[in-house]
């Protein structure tokens, strides 16, 4: 008999059962999905982290049956108004490549269940088997709230489980429940709920149900209250935020530099060692200069990347992101944008690609397009190595006050510059684009939650791997191609000149040099020479390649092991002429702040807008602005005698 029941569970014809997770934004769907599948999909304590559906198999330890789980973007209702909501609803209605799922787990935040329960009424209309997972049960108890899950289950006539996703409590039960989806039924009570067709009727039904479940409303979260009073204070709030950000930028130089110098010494040592133990040949030089020094110059920025993502993931996990959106909403309003655009912009500080995908939460087509077009101005992590290298080389480390130096402030200034460029461009674009229908903007402010250190560590580990993978693929490829372009054609060594001078002669006559010289007129106003131009062309593939290129060009000049930065600035014992004057270096920084130099971003703009017109437009206006900004900076810095 049990065998029969087993056969009856899941889907017909041996196809794995498909179970979808439905719930309001920030109700904890992705955390449950990760716990049940063993995936490490990104979750955060703010609405709209998941913008696409995601599938994974239920872990084998829960069942021997094959069950597919589908994580969906959060929805407030099943009448979608933005792209991410539409994805969720289409999957549920079976309009998305595959038929409707075989069951739906409705995920409800137990602390705000009044607001979440109406979604169950809507889900009942789908006519699919349901079960309910109440998340954040621990928080409900901590805030002296209560709800009788047994009565709730009886009231709704569907299985109800309380879970704590991030601590794994109740996950085993949920896994077992999901594996038995064939037993879920739709109840009479839900049939009544499904007949409610205005929001008022659904809320009335929800309060009716809760009234019978001995519901005790949780008290306000005192910690969040207190923190909000402080962090959202008109004066203290911004002051705390600015101090925190300034400390972070300073830390990039003060704390991350020792780790970076260590790694830098290791790559140089490795390259030198290779050249001494392996007979000198073109291949050895390719390995030592092109691969080890080129790619190594980028990898040494790993400490900075780790620091950046630790900060970003902490802010996302604790619930500060939604507060930040709340604080600057007025500024966004001035630029003609709403708070959801700000959340998308914020994600772009890690990388513009997920940032642009996050615009799917924006209901207005026009606002969404504007946000896509300005998101690449946000200072992404690929700019960090270039900024750090140039700032360390050209900006003095003199203290300004306390722990802050000019270097940290310059880095902060560049982040500010990118942000200002995004907002001003948005304001201009919003005036040029046709106004669409407007929809209300509302933002849920979750309570502050302390992220688990292990979640942050795993997240940072994933980002570090991604950074290394990037170094091992695209940056490696470009470095190798570049090495050939910088070292060909070969010419016979002049025995009267030293090794360095001979290498110099090859560089000066290389194919890359011809390319660099060919575009020299374009960047002549900023006084960039051909070597910088080669870097600019190569960094069109990925911004970090700039660092790899300069490392290759200067590999032979750095005989004293001074480090790339010091060679660039022409300081130190073994260094020759500086490659860049300080005005040119500042111009180069501004160029990197503005110019569009990322193929992945252009590709994702094409995908999200469906037209080639928009990536082309983005490329032209951003790069144009980069050139203009660099030129103005150069003129200003020269006039100021910097």
């Amino acid at each position: 008999m049990t065998e029969l029941v087993r056969l009856g569970t899941g889907a017909p014809s041996g196809r794995p059962a498909r179970i979808a997770f439905l719930g309001a934004p920030n109700s904890g769907k992705t955390t449950l999905f990760n716990a049940l599948t063993g995936h490490r999909a990104k979750a955060g304590n703010y609405p709209g982290v998941t913008v696409d559906r995601r599938e994974g198999d239920l872990r084998a330890r829960f069942t021997d049956l094959s069950v597919r789980l589908i994580d969906l973007p959060g929805v407030y209702s099943l009448e979608p108004q933005s792209e991410d909501e539409a994805v969720a609803v289409r999957v549920l209605r079976g309009e998305f490549e595959e038929p409707s799922p075989d069951g739906v787990v409705v995920v409800l935040d137990a602390t705000t269940i009044e607001r979440a329960l109406p979604l169950v009424a809507e889900a009942a209309e789908l006519g699919l088997p349901l079960c309910i997972a109440l998340t954040m049960i621990d928080e409900l108890k901590a805030r002296h709230g209560e709800i009788d899950l047994e009565v709730l289950g009886a009231e709704l006539g569907v299985p109800v489980l309380g879970v704590v996703g991030n601590r794994g409590l109740g996950i085993d039960d949920l896994g077992a429940l999901v594996a038995e989806s064939g037993h879920w039924t739709r109840s009479e009570a839900l049939g009544e709920a499904a007949r409610a067709d205005t929001p008022e009727q659904r809320f009335e039904w929800a309060y009716g149900v809760l009234g019978r479940c001995r519901r005790k409303v949780p008290q306000a979260d005192h910690w969040s209250r207190r923190l909000d009073r402080f962090l959202l204070h008109p004066v203290l709030g911004p002051a705390v935020f600015l101090t925190f950000v300034a400390l972070f930028f300073q830390a990039i130089f003060t704390w991350a530099t020792p780790a970076m110098d260590l790694m830098s010494g290791m790559t140089d040592g490795l390259a030198d060692w290779l050249l001494t133990v392996v007979p000198d040949s073109l291949l050895t030089r390719l390995l030592a200069d092109g691969v080890i020094r080129g790619v190594g110059a980028v990898i040494v920025f790993l400490p900075q990347i780790v620091l950046l993502f630790t900060v970003i993931l902490f802010l996302e996990g604790c619930g500060y992101m939604a507060r930040a959106a709340f604080v600057v909403d007025r500024v966004m309003g001035w630029a003609g944008l709403e708070g959801r655009c700000f959340l998308a912009l914020l994600s772009s500080y890690a990388c513009a690609v997920p940032g642009i995908m996050a615009t799917r939460t924006i209901p207005s087509e026009r606002d969404r397009l504007t946000t896509i077009l300005v998101a690449p101005f946000a200072t992404c992590s690929a700019r960090l190595p270039v900024y750090t290298l140039l700032i360390a080389a050209f900006i003095p480390a003199d203290p300004v006050f306390g722990p802050f130096t000019w270097q940290g402030l310059t880095l902060g200034g560049l982040y500010l510059l990118g942000t200002a460029a995004a907002l001003v461009s948005a304001a201009v674009l919003q005036r040029g684009l046709r106004r669409g229908a407007s929809l209300p903007f509302y933002l849920e402010l979750p309570p502050f939650r302390l992220p688990r250190p292990s979640d942050i560590l795993l997240g940072v580990w994933d980002r570090a791997k991604m950074f290394l993978r990037r170094a091992g693929t695209i940056i490696l490829c470009v470095s190798i191609v570049l090495w050939f372009l910088l070292n060909l054609p070969r010419r016979a060594a002049d025995p009267e000149l030293g090794a360095a001078a001979n290498q110099q002669a090859i560089l000066e006559g290389s194919y890359a040099a011809s390319v660099g010289r060919f575009i020299e007129p374009v960047f002549a106003p900023m006084d960039f020479d051909w070597r910088i131009n080669v870097g600019l062309v190569a960094s069109q593939a990925a911004r970090e390649v700039m660092v790899a290129t300069l490392a290759q060009i200067y590999a032979h000049e750095d005989e004293e092991g001074e480090g790339l930065g010091r060679v660039l600035a022409g300081v130190g014992d073994g260094a020759g002429e500086p490659l860049l004057s300080r005005p040119s270096a500042l111009a180069l920084l501004v160029y990197f702040a503005f110019a569009m130099q990322c193929m992945s971003t252009l590709a994702v703009i094409r995908r999200e807008t469906g037209k080639w017109r928009w990536p082309a437009f983005t490329f032209v206006y951003m790069t144009g602005l980069g050139w203009l900004g660099a030129w103005v900076t150069f003129l200003a810095a020269t006039a100021a005698g910097a």
Binding site: Y76, F203, D228, V235, V328, V331, P440
Partner: protein, 95 residues
């Protein structure tokens, strides 16, 4: 004293205000939503997220720059801009 206060409550309950006006006056008492003005997807969505007739709502604080404002509703904290809040009419809680 008590009489005066009761009178005040009475006059307030008769007076209809918008949620935006409530925030402007810094009034953080619990009120009840009377209606969401306007039709179409805009007000429908406000009602779906819980700003519907009969719901209890409380103004919490305004953003440092004056707009938007935070409200407590159905146990959650939400932020609304002035333009949205001015579509929501509230009245004092009957009781």
């Amino acid at each position: 004293m008590r009489v005066v206060r009761e009178k005040l409550v009475l006059s307030r309950s008769e007076m209809d205000r918008t949620l935006a006006e409530l925030a402007d006056s810094g009034d953080d008492r619990l009120v009840e939503i009377a209606e969401v003005t306007g039709d179409g997807p805009f007000s429908w969505r406000l009602r779906e997220i819980g700003f519907c007739r009969g719901a209890a709502v409380r103004f919490v604080r305004r953003a440092p720059l004056g707009d938007p404002a935070m409200y407590e509703l159905h146990g959650a904290t939400l932020s609304l801009r002035r333009s949205e809040a001015s579509r929501i009419r509230v009245r004092s809680r009957a009781s």
